[in-house]
């Protein structure tokens, strides 16, 4: 059981801290000069951060297809990435990935 005062104190402090992190640079965007070099550096953010979401979530997941040591998600992710490179449809890659995973796990449990 979480006590009300303890809960509200935590939530309010978290909300203030999170907004400060999110808003710090946006709030002063008119006052900070952005050079061309800095803009170029920002363009690397997706390449720097998105793999850090994708790979641990996929690689460290314990799957159930024994023949590939439970790493079916890794293989399906690579296959979906290759398909996306040619087709460029987000909906297709998600649907394809989920269907392939469903089929792989269903077959392995039969």
């Amino acid at each position: 059981m979480i006590h009300d005062r303890y809960f509200f104190l935590n939530v309010i402090l978290l909300a203030i801290g999170t907004l400060a992190i999110r808003g710090s640079f946006i709030a002063f965007s008119g006052k900070i000069k952005n050079s061309e070099k800095l803009r170029e550096l920002f363009s690397y953010i997706p390449a720097a951060i998105l793999p850090a979401f994708i790979f641990p979530a996929t690689f460290f997941h314990r799957g159930i297809v024994e023949s590939i040591y439970g790493k079916e998600r890794v293989l399906i992710l690579i296959a979906s990435g290759i398909v996306f490179f040619f087709v460029r449809s987000t909906l297709l890659i998600i649907s394809l990935g989920l269907v392939l995973l469903y089929v792989a796990t269903t077959i392995s449990t039969i």
Binding site: I2, Y6, F7, L9, N10, V11, I12, L13, L14, A15, G17, T18, L19, I21, R22, G23, F25, I26, A27, S29, G30, N34, K37, R39, E40, L41, F42, S43, Y44, I45, P46, A47, A48, I49, L50, P51, A52, F53, I54, F55, P56, A57, T58, R73, I76, L77, S80, G81, F84, R88, T90, L91, I93, I94, G97, L98, L101, Y102, T105, T106
Partner: protein, 221 residues
């Protein structure tokens, strides 16, 4: 336009929201407490970790440090968003900051070549943020009321890395971006075990340092 662009990736948000909602219910919080936290904090991973800590009566400092360290990645997004919000009003700046999420930021960055002006980019971003907020709140409250409703066999959690692949691939414009992505992939696996989920922010900072070194090398040559 932004609302439509983020629609394909919300399938990854729904199961995460349902897990968050059922975590609120398991922690015996009221629906009003869930609504309050979900609205004012609005950061899924941090909420999940801190609700768990609060259930164990952890010290306020521990709860706060954990939540804020997980949210540190938003600082990078805020830095990258700042040139776009340069001419925006205080209200728009507040809305952009308050609704900053991984998905809406990444969707906007993946589409940045389509924008003619900063205001167009901000408008697009707010569309993605509105769609994200709507989906997140609906799935959290559904999870609170009905429990984790998505069948496990559907593996909907896998939609999150799949949707990030769809956002990552268009951002790999040349060999340098691919090199940064490879470095980030390797580092994320090596640093995964760091405490308080700091592996994510450590990977991001080291990969950005690598990108900075690549830019400097190009300028020197």
């Amino acid at each position: 336009m932004g609302f439509k662009a983020v629609l394909p990736i919300i399938s990854g948000i729904i199961p995460f929201g349902a897990v968050m909602g059922s975590a609120f219910a398991e922690a015996q919080l009221s629906i009003w407490q869930a609504i309050l936290m979900n609205t004012v904090v609005y950061a899924g991973a941090a909420q999940l970790a801190t609700v768990d800590l609060m259930s164990q009566n952890a010290a306020v400092l521990v709860v706060l440090a954990t939540g804020l360290i997980i949210n540190l990645r938003f600082l990078l997004y805020s830095v990258a968003m700042s040139p776009l919000t340069h001419d925006s009003s205080a209200l728009i700046k507040f809305l952009c900051a308050f609704t900053l999420t991984d998905q809406s930021y990444a969707t906007m960055m993946a589409n940045q070549s389509k924008f003619q002006s900063n205001s167009e980019a901000v408008q697009f971003y707010l569309g993605t943020a509105f769609c994200m907020a709507l989906t997140w709140h609906a799935s959290v409250y559904a999870g609170f009321i009905f429990g984790n409703f998505a069948p496990v066999s559907w593996s909907l959690d896998f939609a999150v890395p799949l949707s990030f692949v769809a956002l990552l691939v268009p951002s790999l414009k040349n060999k340098k971006y691919i090199a940064v992505a490879i470095v980030s992939s390797i580092l994320s696996l090596i640093l995964y075990g760091l405490p308080l989920k700091t592996g994510l922010i450590a990977t991001a900072l080291l990969s950005m340092s690598f990108a900075f070194a690549l830019i400097r090398r190009k300028n020197d040559s």
